[in-house]
Amino acid sequence: MKNTFRGGVHPISHKELTRDVPLRVLNAKGEMVFPLLQHIGKPAKPLVKKGDEVLAGQKIGEADGLISAHVISSCSGKVKAVEKRRVQNGQMVECIVVDNDGQYSRMEGIGVRQDISSLSKEEILRRIREAGIVGLGGAGFPTHVKLSPKNPDAIRYVIANGSECEPYLTGTDQLMRSQADSIAEGLSLMLRLFPNAEGVIVIEDNKPEAIEAMRKASAGNDKLSVLAAKAKYGQGGEKMLIETVAGINYPSSMLPAEVGCIVQNACTIYAIDRAVAYLEPLFTHTFTLTGDAVKTPGNFIVRDGMSFSELIEAAGGLKEGAVVKKAIVGGPIMGIAIPNLDVPIQKTSSGVALVTVDQSEVAASIMTSCLRCGRCTTVCPVGLLPQMLADAVQAGDLERYEKKLYGLECIQCGCCSYICPAKRPLTQTFMRTKAEILAQKRAAVGGKK
């Protein structure tokens, strides 16, 4: 095993703001909003209607189809409405709005320790599915689908992603420090699904406390190991983790399972353990509130559905006179800037950074011509030639982009945009071009039918 991958960048991490702040539980007061689409795939179907009473932990949205996930209420109260609301990515999504009664009365049986020694594989998967667990790293892919590959016996590595390479975020770090035993247990639960696999927990070496805690927790189990990876942005990507652990590079047309690897975020694994061993569905998760506009930055256990503004207020509010110029959810590099703070926290919101830096210094820097310095090529973790790709896009030559330069392999990690001294918006260009090519392909397939 190597301890790093090719490429990557070293942005200022800003983790010192929150890295040593222990997790604290925050509860919401007002209404809670649960979007029916918090995952990749089809939106869930609502199971409740206006006026219904719900309890914390109750399933209020049913997964629709194979690639979909249940939606769980995080509070008790009365359903106020089922309507379209704006969510963190700025789109309008059908949401269930619950008037929170502040009691947080739970469904019966939630949080009771179960005997997990004799659970069958099907039962483990069923509990994960029932808990509505999705990938908590940010993409939100339904976990039960990821854990049901066609070839469970061929899986060699189950990788727990504790690298948390995005600047600002420290929630996973704190979770690994405080709940190491749970994460180790969750990982061994997953290993039961894959008899020939070993579990590797990858943690960047800028989190020595978490590495220590995870080493201690996994000491008794010889199938588990902890890999201290070099701290570098990009490490938390699925492809980079597999390159680091298994030494395999694979094209975008293949799934990680096809090369014998399953990657899950450490927070997801914690949620799996809670779901299987305690029958507790996914309605709380770790969240980092940080940035130079926040009075008391910290790590929290938050309930899904509370709004960002309510969370900020409950956590101590903003610094006096601070004007938030950008609020970025899910890490400043791959995350998205949210247009307003009155949108609900959802399963995939791993943290928010509220920054006061003037926007002209951040995203609106003046773009100049490409200098041909080649830095983008040296940092690209998948080994593409970003400046050539951008040229192909500018020339409108999508065929060259796709066939000659393999532009569809781009993982949109943002390293090229970060390093570019000419401030060229490379990542956005590739995001757009990939989407356009895929749309054309879908249209061609549809046309043939």
């Binding site: 700025g90 247009p339 995203a363 609106a364 757009r432 071009t433 989407a435």
Partner: protein, 271 residues
């Protein structure tokens, strides 16, 4: 002596090459339809590509080989179609010229952007990268991908929304293809009554984000005597074949989102 010899050699070479050219010319002669040249002469010749072929030469070849209709040139319109039809020995079907129409009225006075988007100032880059720039999920972004696509300077972004110059527009549809939100439709030139909105959201939601959006109230449908306007998916749409341009729907529309016919006067004034 040298002068004479040189002249002789040059002359002989000239004669040989000349015969060679004549021979190869006859041997490798390609039959060209003279109609193609004639059609090419009629076409405007600015190679705009609006017909869908690679310039006027390709268009002429396509017309002669029957792949394109005789009135396939949107720039030339009816006069060119008539000339081409005469060459081809047919009559041009009387097809009305179409113009682009932007189905959005959301300028900066009636709706707003959310957040402060500072990325690439281009509609396609914003929409395909999943960035919802506007509050309305259907409306015009106003970065002008259509403006860049127009070969005839016929569409401009005015106060945050794209507006078509109907006189300049040749109906090539390049702007419609460029628009990532498919807001631009091609309508017959004589039809002026159209719905200037594309939002398929429900009424209250539309009102929240835009004061000029179609709320799907179907008031227009009740006014229409010619079955020419219908509401589907919370959005009114004009059926141009049936529309007689009376403007009754536009007059009653509570959000004033239907465009009025040219020279429209209120019924009281006209009686």
């Amino acid at each position: 002596m040298i002068i004479l010899l040189t002249t002789l050699v040059i002359t002989i070479i000239g004669i040989i090459v000349g015969y060679g050219l004549v021979y190869t010319g006859k041997k490798f002669h390609v039959e060209v339809d003279e109609r193609e040249t004639a059609v090419r002469e009629c076409l405007p010749g600015n190679n705009c590509g609006a017909c869908g072929f690679a310039g006027c030469d390709a268009m002429a070849a396509a017309i002669v080989s029957g792949q394109a209709p005789v009135n396939g040139c949107p720039v030339g319109g009816a006069p060119v179609a008539a000339k081409v039809a005469a060459i081809m020995g047919t009559t041009a079907e009387d097809v009305e010229r179409k113009v682009a129409f932007v189905q959005c009225k959301g300028d900066c006075d009636v709706t707003h952007n959310q957040g402060n988007y500072v990325g690439i100032q281009d509609c396609r880059s914003a929409v395909f990268a999943g960035i919802p720039v506007t509050e309305c999920s259907f409306g015009c972004l106003g970065f002008g991908s259509c403006v860049a696509a127009c070969p005839h300077d016929a569409i401009h972004v005015i106060n945050g929304v794209a507006v078509v110059h109907r006189m300049k527009c040749v109906g090539c549809g390049l702007c419609a293809k460029a628009c990532p939100r498919s807001l631009i439709d091609l309508v017959p030139e004589s039809k002026h009554v159209s719905v200037q909105c594309s939002s398929r959201d429900k009424g209250p939601l539309v009102k929240k984000v835009c004061t000029a959006g179609c709320i799907g109230c179907a008031m227009c449908v009740r006014q229409c005597e010619h079955d020419a306007i219908h509401v589907t998916d919370n959005l009114a749409r004009v059926t141009y074949e049936n529309c007689v341009q009376c403007g009754k729907c536009a007059e009653k529309c509570p959000s004033k989102v239907i465009t009025l016919p040219l020279g429209f006067k209120k019924p009281e004034a006209s009686t």
